[in-house]
């Protein structure tokens, strides 16, 4: 990485976190990440330890979030649930990006029959609302954490494919791309070394936005009872069980929901602020290249 590119990234990050909403969201996400992954070493709590005498206990000094029906510490289950959510979301977004970006790249770069075939396949993925597509996949794969991850990931493929394709189409006929081709750059070289590096901005925004979608989708699947199987703690499953005890322990279903909502809102805010910051940067860059007599 060149020093100039590094500097530009720092610049973008600075601009991003000068927005108070983005700063707050970033701080919350960082805290969630740290808690979720350092919990086993840092916090003296166990999400699986049962104490039946504490069953459905309301929030107290010992159990800050109360205890669930088996007397397990709900705070611990919410924190370990964050771990499940974040891992599933990261895996799903990685799958979506690894399949979607190459599809969009090839479709947009070559056009013609490759474009037609690939985009029809994407249309098939879009022929059902995302959650139903994921449910259908889980019906086949069986219920497991991996199945949830893969199902959520596949539903994210179309958005990466479309965004990458649109970006490639806008770059395809630009002088610098034609120049690389004229100089004898192979298709693969031109695609991956010339077009892709100039397409990262909208893809990066998509990564953030899709993380929030993936977390929501995974939670929804677990809430429906087809996502991550128990006893692994997950936010969706906590809400599902909590819903059965609304009269006995109202906080049971409320507190995990707050964690879930704040995470989704933070990612969404971060994504939208990032989009505006990158948009502004491109406008500035566009203006300067206009000035250089393009």
């Amino acid at each position: 990485m060149t020093a100039r590119r590094m500097q530009r990234r720092i610049e973008t990050a600075k601009r991003l976190f000068s927005h108070p909403g983005a700063l707050l969201s970033g701080a919350f996400l960082l805290l969630t990440l740290l808690l979720a992954f350092l919990a086993p070493w840092v916090l003296p709590i166990d999400p699986l330890l049962q104490d039946v005498s504490a069953s459905l206990e309301p929030p107290s000094a010992r159990y800050w979030f109360g205890a669930d029906e088996l007397g397990r510490d709900l705070l611990a289950r919410v924190i370990y649930g964050a771990r499940t959510s974040l891992i599933t979301a990261a895996g799903a977004v990685a799958i979506a990006a690894c399949i979607g970006i190459p599809i969009g790249l090839v479709a947009g770069f070559f056009g013609g029959w490759r474009d037609a075939v690939l985009m029809r396949i994407i249309d098939v993925l879009l022929a059902l609302p995302g959650i139903l597509f994921a449910m259908a996949m889980i019906a086949v794969l069986g219920r497991s954490q991996l199945a949830a991850l893969v199902a959520v990931g596949i539903t994210g493929v179309p958005s990466f494919a479309r965004i990458t394709r649109a970006q490639v189409l806008s770059l395809r006929q630009r002088d610098f791309v034609l120049a690389v081709e004229a100089l004898g750059g192979s298709s693969a070289y031109t695609m991956f070394k010339t077009v892709l590096p100039n397409s990262w901005s909208p893809i990066l925004v998509q990564v953030v936005v899709l993380s929030s979608v993936a977390i929501l989708l995974e939670a929804a699947l677990s809430f429906l009872g087809v996502g991550i199987p128990p006893p692994t703690p997950s936010w969706g499953d906590l809400l599902r069980t909590g819903k059965s005890f609304l009269y006995e322990a109202p906080t049971y279903a409320v507190l995990p929901g707050i964690a879930l909502t704040l995470t989704i809102l933070s990612l969404d805010t971060l994504g939208r602020t990032l989009a505006t910051v990158l948009e502004d940067r491109r406008e500035i860059a566009g203006a300067s290249s206009e000035g250089s007599g393009r």
Binding site: R120, I121, D123, V124, A127, L128, P129, I131, L132, M135, A136, I138, A139, V140, G142, S212, L216, A219, A220, F223, L224, G225, V226, G236, L239, G242, K243, L246, Y247, P250, A253, V254, G257, L260, T261, I264, L265, D268, T269
Partner: protein
Amino acid sequence: MTGYIVRRLLQLLPVLLLASLGIWAMIYAVPGGPVASIVGENANPEQIREVTQRLGLDRPVLVQYWAWLTSALTGDLGASLHAREPVLHLIMQRVPATLQLGFCATLVGLLLGIPVAIASAIWPGSWIDRTLSGWSALALGVPTFWLGILLILLFSVELRWLPSASAYVSFFDSPLQALRNTAMPALTLGTYVSGIFARFLRASLLSELKADYVRTARSKGLPERDVVGRHVMRNALLPFVTIVGLMLANFIGGTVVTEAVFTYPGLGRLLIQAIGSRDYPLIQGCILFILVIYVLMNLLVDVLYAYIDPRIEYR
């Protein structure tokens, strides 16, 4: 126009074929294949042979797909393994409930979303706009199943006004009971949709407000109320129609989560129950049904849009 519709339908054909192939193949991808999914994993060879023959599973795969597809096209989606009833019959029983919820939720979404969009588009950047944009973000960010739980806690557990489990009562039979049962699910789903509506209409209004005709209208002294109410709204509502239509299409299957929160007996709950009991013909039937409606609704919205906006070229 007719040519455009025909072309779009032809474009849909490969998508529908590929999707139906996927749905049909589902049952073969299940461990043990279609036979195990019907007779269970501990069946004796007799039973397996009997089912294999009865379902024609000893025929070539393509013949099997063709037979499945042609009977599906005539509305024969097979029989449910558990209810022992035709799948289409079970689906049709649930459709009115889902439609009623979908329409009510759209109504709530419009009632909440349109005023929010207008207020924030008239004063862009003001504190009103910022507050309302925050509201839209909240409406979109709060998971519907959690919002539903909060509503149950308030209206059923605390106030005891509404039932925590919603039954399906048609508005045509008993309007009051229907309202009691549909209010919370519709509010839950409607709040979410209002966020989409508000964001979209705001953007659409803002871009219209920059148009030349707005400047003309203002400079000839037309009151702002008429500029927005008469001229801008008409043009801004045009693209908005598509979003409302797409939402309705989404609701054919997209009420799954809300139905689960309120144990509302719609199509989505039927699908969840089918997945829970591994009732594969029912799963396939539900998904195929939702898919066809969803795809056709999307097409209808496109066509409607092209019809009401003469500037769109039919290509």
